[in-house]
């Protein structure tokens, strides 16, 4: 590994060098608001990072036509390679050398938490647009960090709200053996127990991240005969889970609920062969809600990038609009005034009005609970029979968040 590290350092320093050489040119001329974006642009997560960046760029095109306080918002990107140390040094470089006004990123929760800590010390606002750990705005939240996407607490609670209305009693929880999986599982179970005290957990199974063969796990779960299974998984494991569900015919025997199962990024590669009847929660679909705002966003995105926006693009678009609206409200480019302005700020997003909650800096947005179903319009499955769970209903309360933070301080 030492050899790999050395070669890597060389490439890394060349990369940094070339970025430094290019950056000043990009920002020449006129006063601007500088946004530094750190995200993972290499490896499997690059798909999501690219989508988020496209959403952000699309919004900026529109925002910069008018300008913000007579300035343009400009950005530069840095690749974290999904690694905490690289993400942190990139963020430092952006703050120290590039003197960015704001930081935005990233898909990795551990990178987000590390950069959030830096943002607090340096007093630079940091917008997390994809990482889903509830600790970012929960127990480890502070004045300088914001989340513009849903987090594990909201996803878990949304699953619980949805399932508590169904007749299931015996549950099984299964998922990827890492923080994201366990966080969703914990939040879902905690809330489900609260909403419906008679539910029983018959078992849990956790597999290592990227486990290629999930069929033994599914057959073992089915032999325990639970009423419903909550899978806590995402990314490439999602496709594996959906394939294994299809192969074993599990969806016909047991109710299944998975956060982001209805994401078209997971369903599209499977084409018409994805399993039908899987419940999923999602904070954005390009085909739902069918409102003029969403249609306009999807059309503009398609025209610019040739494909429909995914949830990262939706988060990216919202992030840009939150930033612009907050500066306009603050009236000047000043970090503290910017934060005062953004607390409780409401903007119009493609899915309707969303709010940056003042107490914990977590976006309040609705969640869509649907069931996978074949559609005549697309050659892949979509979410159908969608129930909209309003934002406030699926958020942990401000008191709960404050209690968490007080406990974390001790």
């Amino acid at each position: 590994m030492r050899y790999r590290g050395r070669g890597f350092l060389l490439v890394f320093s060349v990369l940094i060098g070339s970025l430094l050489a290019l950056a000043p040119v990009a920002w020449a001329g006129g006063k601007v608001i500088k946004v530094g974006i750190i995200d993972c642009y290499s490896g499997p997560p690059a798909v999501y990072a690219k989508d988020a960046l496209n959403g952000f760029k699309l919004a900026l095109k529109e925002i910069n036509k008018k300008g913000v306080l007579g300035r343009k918002i400009v950005f530069t990107t840095r690749d974290t390679k999904f690694k905490v140390d690289i993400g942190l040094s990139m963020a430092k470089e952006l703050i120290m050398r590039e003197k960015v006004d704001l930081l935005v990123g990233t898909i990795s929760s551990s990178v987000a938490l590390a950069v959030s800590d830096l943002a607090r010390k340096e007093k630079v606002p940091f917008f997390v647009w994809m990482a889903k750990s509830e600790r970012i705005t929960g127990e480890l939240g502070h004045r300088y960090v914001f989340c513009t996407g849903e987090n594990t607490a909201m996803a878990g609670k949304a699953i619980a709200v949805g399932l508590s209305k169904k007749p299931y009693v015996k549950y099984w929880i299964a998922g990827d053996d890492y923080e994201y999986g366990h966080a969703i599982g914990r939040a879902a179970w905690r809330n489900l127990k609260k909403f419906k005290p008679e539910v029983k957990k018959v078992g849990e199974s956790w597999w290592k991240v990227g486990e290629p063969d999930l069929i033994p796990y599914l057959t073992a779960i089915m032999s325990a005969k639970p009423d419903a299974v909550i899978f806590c998984t995402g990314g490439r494991s999602m496709t594996n889970v959906l394939k294994a569900i299809k192969a074993t015919g599990m969806a016909k025997k047991v109710a299944i609920c998975i956060h982001t199962a209805t994401d078209h990024a997971s369903l599209k590669p499977l084409g018409p062969e994805a399993p039908e009847g899987v419940m999923g929660t999602m904070d954005y679909h390009f085909y739902y809600p069918d409102t003029p705002e969403n249609r306009a966003f999807v059309e503009a995105f398609r025209a610019a990038y040739g494909e429909p926006p995914g949830f990262p693009a939706f988060h990216g678009w919202n992030t840009a609009h939150f930033i612009a609206a907050a500066y306009r409200k603050a009236g000047e480019v000043d970090t503290e005034k910017f934060i005062d302005a953004i607390e409780g700020l409401k903007i119009m997003s493609p899915v309707g009005e969303i709010e940056m909650r003042a107490c914990d800096h977590q976006v309040v947005e609705p969640m869509f609970l649907g069931v996978t179903k074949k559609s005549p319009k697309y050659n892949f499955l979509i979410s159908s029979d969608i129930v909209t769970l309003p934002g406030p209903e699926i958020m942990p309360s401000c008191e709960e968040i404050m209690a968490l933070r007080a406990r974390a301080k001790k």
């Binding site: 956790w206 069929i215 796990y217 089915m222 496709t239 062969e273």
Partner: protein, 294 residues
Amino acid sequence: MSLDAASLCTQLLVGLSRSMILFIVSAGMSFILGVLRVPNVAHGSLYMIGAFSAFSIYTYFGMGSTGFWLALLLAPLVVALVGFVAERVLFCHLYEREHLMLLLFTFALMLILGDLVKMVWGPEYSSIMPPGGLKGSVSIFGSAFPKYNLFLLVVGPLVAVFLWLFTNRTKMGKICRAAAVDREMVGALGINVSWVFAAAFVLGCYLAGIGGALVAPTVSITLGMDHDIIIEAFLIVTIGGLGNIWGALVGSLIFGVTQAFGVLLWPQFAIVFPYAAVVTVLLLKPRGLLKSVW
């Protein structure tokens, strides 16, 4: 937890079907290790290339049953070709070096092949579907069992039989076995050892390709598949006895079945089971279960 005979039986079958893929991949690795004495860390990358090529072939031929069968046939050949080029251009100059150098070299090759795959196929997840007759599941003792896994249970033994026929009944196979034991002697008999090595390497790669193509319908085809399989394959090769393909078979069966039962018996900690089995085997038989050719 209901531990009736039916669920034990399904779980055993599921474990065995996973073992088949592990066997095909690790047999190739073990074969190369035995004949060429190269611990090929890039074997996982060849498996990944097999899966990605299967995806391309499947997509090219219209994503149907024909696409799948052609993919299963052609993808391993693509991998064999990649292996052939790698052997003739790179490996054949390195056989005389020490094992550490070879290990480093194949490690570098793994990183390079991983990036090549990203350049050719991109970072998106891909997926292929089993053909018409192998979709869905059948009921075995009242539990659902995927048809595709039944297919794997047929293919695995077939591959094993062909390997046995090759190594025991063909001249080439016998030479390979002889080269594994004493390569100087084989050279002294006037056989071109260099080409024997090339053939053995290509066969190993072909097996990795079959593994990749076979696994493709059950998982998402993505970067990082190489790392997932290579650790398991290495463990299997080690517990089976280095370079012994029948050891790879025994190792795969142990690995796949303990994993499947671990999941059934103690699902929270299922990950531990196959590795605990590996540790136990190595404590009892440090040189592997079957005779190592090293």
